[in-house]
């Protein structure tokens, strides 16, 4: 089955990101196709490489980056939500006159159209969050 995953909550604050990660990982292991993982609302905070959790805890951001690299996942952070919350790549930094970037490896920033396209192209849209 072809799936698009939507993550609506930030890391650590809420289990949604953990659940989405395990769901995505398991779906891939079972042979399903992940068309895209779309991070929306506070979910965009899953895509900042500046995250530094205590060493004895899981690193949620790194975990997404690694899963993304292993499976060539399309990890998309919503641009409008990212601008509000300060998740920035080089293009956005230039466009908005910011002096730094923090997007994590394997993530890209793009528009809400990517979410809608994911819902059209996939057999199921699976949403994690409140």
């Amino acid at each position: 089955m072809k799936l698009t995953i939507q993550v609506n909550e930030g890391p650590y604050q809420h289990q949604a990101s953990d659940s989405a990660y395990w769901f995505t990982k398991t779906a891939l292991e079972k042979g399903h196709e992940i068309f895209r993982v779309f991070f929306y609302h506070d979910g965009v905070n899953n895509g900042t490489r500046l995250t530094t959790p205590p060493q004895d805890d899981r690193n949620i951001v790194k975990r997404w980056s690694e899963l993304g690299e292993q499976h060539s996942l399309d990890l998309v952070v919503c641009v409008a939500a990212a601008q509000r919350r300060g998740v920035v790549d080089e293009g956005e930094a230039k466009r908005n006159g910011k002096d730094a970037t923090n997007i994590a490896p394997g993530f890209r920033i793009s528009g809400l159209g990517q979410l809608v396209e994911g819902a059209i192209q996939s057999d199921r849209l699976v949403v994690f969050g409140d």
Partner: protein, 135 residues
């Protein structure tokens, strides 16, 4: 992308306590460009999103409620509001904005956008969708 799916945006939360309502509306507006069979539902505290005369000045937040009146221009013809959700909150249809769309097949006749449906009817409508965006 020729395939048309039945898309429903389900709004379940009050408008200003969290950002879900506003960012849901942003998806609805962007999604309109994809020419799917779109409807929007308001249930639970989500019915507060459509109340008229919202004033956010004291809260220091942007009042985005006027945007709902543009939904008809975005080719959205179906908004479902759950009757029980309204009643449980002491609200009626009169407390909501009067939203309309223009039917170009009937000489641009102005039609009501909001349809009041019961909880049981809403369940059937939800079950009939291809994609649920849940906010």
């Amino acid at each position: 992308m020729s395939e048309t799916k039945k898309f429903m945006y389900v709004n379940r939360k009050a408008p200003y306590g969290t950002i879900y309502a506003w960012e849901s509306l942003e998806v609805v507006l962007i999604g309109a460009a994809f020419e799917q069979d779109v409807s929007v539902a308001f249930i639970d505290d989500g019915v507060f999103q459509l109340t008229k005369d919202q004033d956010t000045k004291e809260a220091g937040m942007k009042n985005f409620s006027p945007t709902y009146s543009a939904l008809g221009d975005y080719e959205i013809k179906k908004i479902y509001v759950e009757k029980e959700s309204l009643e449980e909150r002491g609200l009626s249809l009169d407390d909501l904005q009067h939203l309309t769309w223009e039917d170009e097949d009937e000489d641009y006749a102005e039609k009501d956008l909001i349809q009041l449906v019961t909880r049981a009817e809403m369940a059937d409508i939800l079950a009939g969708q291809d994609v649920l965006f849940n906010f």
